[in-house]
Symmetry: C2
Subunit: 428 residues, 2 copies
């Protein structure tokens, strides 16, 4: 009969989550820990102390990523877990924090159990995942994606530079370039995170197994018609730019059904009309069109589908259409071995899990350039996030943390697991 698999010290995990949640909490119960803010630095210090108390070795890299390490056989690539402890202004207590604190607890527990490891284990708190300075600074630095230029040009919404805000804290932003790691040092990366969407909550499940992080394209589209008097211009003589957009919006579902996958989404989130007066037929509409899917081919198909629809609408209505690509981000596929380790761990806990894509960006996306990655989701009540209303039941948190612990054990004790698939993963 096999040994029962270990579990985390749940009261200790709870205590840590609550202690971290008290740092940067405002009267509205929202968490305010933007990167490099005093509350963020307090949280960094708190975490460093926890790591040292846990008997893990502590490192603060050039991007201010906090790393706790449990040594394994020398020269072996590490199984890495982690997430972030910065928050949006007025965020919830779990977005990022859960993955860091549960990762810490997992390493602490594994150390206590004296498990014989085939790989070292690391827990990382990545800096500025929420993108105060535009990107995922910490994990991008670790993935080696920063350049001196991107560092110098990074500014927050108030115009404060990354260089200045790190200098004010006694750090040199250029040292972030030193945080880059070789793929040879990372065996795999696993991140526990709240879903930030409604799927698991609606399905009544505790665990989601992320099969990939969706890619996206974001366009700015302009339709141009002709401004006309809303009283004197008969309906059939109009070139109403807004009606062109409305027709496209009405075809969104059809385009997703015809060209997309099960989990494809598309959103029109920003709309600006000109001249924008009640009594003038709109001459121009500029809008954002964003589509996401986990499969790069599906994204390509969706792009073609939207372009075809817009061409047809523009032709039919006598409008001009043009679009600018604002961003294109490739999807990241999670690694089958990491997925299997997560699913076996969920099975071992006796809980049902569901595969689903991550529609939001995560540090795992950057880490996929270094190593095979996987993510564990726990449900977000009503899908709420980036808000004090963000909530996950303690039951789901415990199950998620145990799932992470067992996944890390599976990966760190499997001496045969490949570290060579990093390049493959990065090219998807």
């Amino acid at each position: 009969m096999p040994q029962p698999e270990p579990t985390v010290d749940f009261p200790r995990l709870q205590q840590d989550l609550e202690a971290l949640a008290a740092i940067g909490r405002h009267a509205d119960h929202g968490i305010h820990r933007p990167a490099f803010s005093p509350a963020f630095m307090d949280a960094q210090r708190w975490l460093q102390q926890r790591i040292e108390e846990a008997g893990l070795s502590l490192e603060l890299d050039g991007a201010l990523n906090v790393i706790g390490r449990l040594a394994g056989p020398p020269g072996r690539p590490a199984v890495v877990t982690g997430s972030h402890i910065d928050s949006v202004p007025g965020g919830g207590t779990l977005d990022g924090a859960l993955g860091v604190v549960a990762g810490l607890e997992a390493l602490r527990r594994i150390r206590e159990l004296g498990v014989s490891l085939a790989h070292p284990l690391e827990v990382v708190a990545f800096t500025d995942e929420e993108g105060r300075f535009g990107g995922m600074f910490g994990s991008q630095a670790m993935a080696g994606h920063l350049t001196p230029e991107t560092i110098v040009n990074a500014r927050d919404l108030r115009g404060i530079t990354l260089v200045d805000s790190m200098q004010a804290l006694g750090f040199d932003a250029m040292h972030a370039l030193r945080a880059a790691r070789s793929p040879r040092t990372v065996q795999s990366f696993v991140e526990l995170h709240i879903e930030q969407g409604p799927v698991l909550d609606r399905a009544g499940l505790h665990v989601g197994v992320v099969e990939g992080i969706v890619g996206l394209f974001k366009w700015t589209v302009r339709l141009r018609g002709m401004a006309n008097h809303a009283g004197t211009t008969p309906m059939n003589m109009r070139h109403d730019a807004f009606q062109g957009l409305a027709e496209l919006a009405g075809e969104l579902d059809r385009i997703l059904e015809e060209h997309g996958g099960d989990a494809s989404v598309a959103t029109i989130g920003r709309v600006e009309l000109r001249p924008g007066a009640a009594n003038v037929v709109p001459s121009q509409v500029e809008f954002s069109l964003e589509a996401r899917d986990i499969d790069p081919d599906v994204l390509t198909e969706l792009g073609l589908g939207f372009r075809r629809a817009m061409s047809a609408i523009a032709r039919r209505r006598g409008l001009m259409f043009e679009f600018d690509v604002l961003s294109e981000i490739d999807p990241v596929a999670c690694d089958p071995k990491v997925l299997a380790a997560i699913e076996q761990s969920a099975d071992s806990l006796g809980v049902k899990s569901q595969r689903l894509p991550s529609g939001a960006a995560h540090d795992a996306q950057s880490m996929a350039y270094l190593a095979p990655v996987g993510m564990i989701f726990v449900p977000s009540k009503d899908g709420r996030s980036h808000s004090p209303a963000e909530w996950t039941s303690w039951e789901s948190i415990e199950i998620g943390a145990n799932c992470l612990l067992r996944t890390l054990l599976r990966l760190a004790t499997d001496s045969a697991s490949a570290s060579t698939s990093a390049t493959e993963s990065a090219s998807t």
Copy 2:
């Protein structure tokens, strides 16, 4: 064999139109004669001089309406024509000016011909038809619709009061209350105006016979859903406020076809999304919905149709909906006798005419409270107006002016024509 009907002195009319067009013309060829501006006052003085030179009696009423009068039998109500000589900033040369100058030419010609009149004839240049101070100040004053309160509260977009701008010119705005006329003094009102829409131009006609001036309702509508992450929220779990608007916009034509008349129009001209970010499912959309028709019952039906559609969309999509009525203006029906006089005059000129509604507001709308009204439209090239691109061929202008002349003659020489239908007309 009947006498051929008279025609205007076309070269003289052309000269007057060109002289007036030179007043307030800027380098871009746009006409800048907002009410009470120096250019407007120059145009007023120019017109007063023309009226006196034409041997008509001149009156400037308390609203600064310029009135030229050709006497008829004492005590008889006047057949009135006219329009306005103020312009939007950067308007065209004919919007308003054509009706005033052609009216002047008609009275001048009738005086020269020594026609025996059953009614006096008047030509009026109404002040501020373009609504620098919010409404059609001059014709509203004549119709007796002003109150001391509306006069004191009237301000332009820069915050300048009507009282101050008239005082700076030596006039007391309160005297506008004296401009009110009794319906007993007006037998009928006829206005020649450019169409400001594309219907006659597309149909290749010189003359349109306005069957009425459309009424309208203008609503501000809000649809509220829920803001959600555009990446993590599946399509079938969204409450996307913008998609609700897009669905309504897609039903615009159906609603007009089911509940409207041939010439009903509806416009969504202003749209504002919240939060208005590319990566957030919109939680709220606020938009303008404006519908116009010539039949008050049709307008009521359209209002019901839109409300029903919005309720259904809101229910289906899990949205809340509410709307504020910004304005409701009753349609004005033109008088059958005046219409007949215009059509007979067009026939006498050997030109085809077409009945059509006026989708724009005109001074005739105010005058309908005093007397039966009619309007003659001449084509606007491509429907352009309120722009230096506004243009009507000289051929159409000549035909329109002759049509006005002959219509005025018909009305002013018909001693049997009723002046009692004013009350009827006002109640439509």
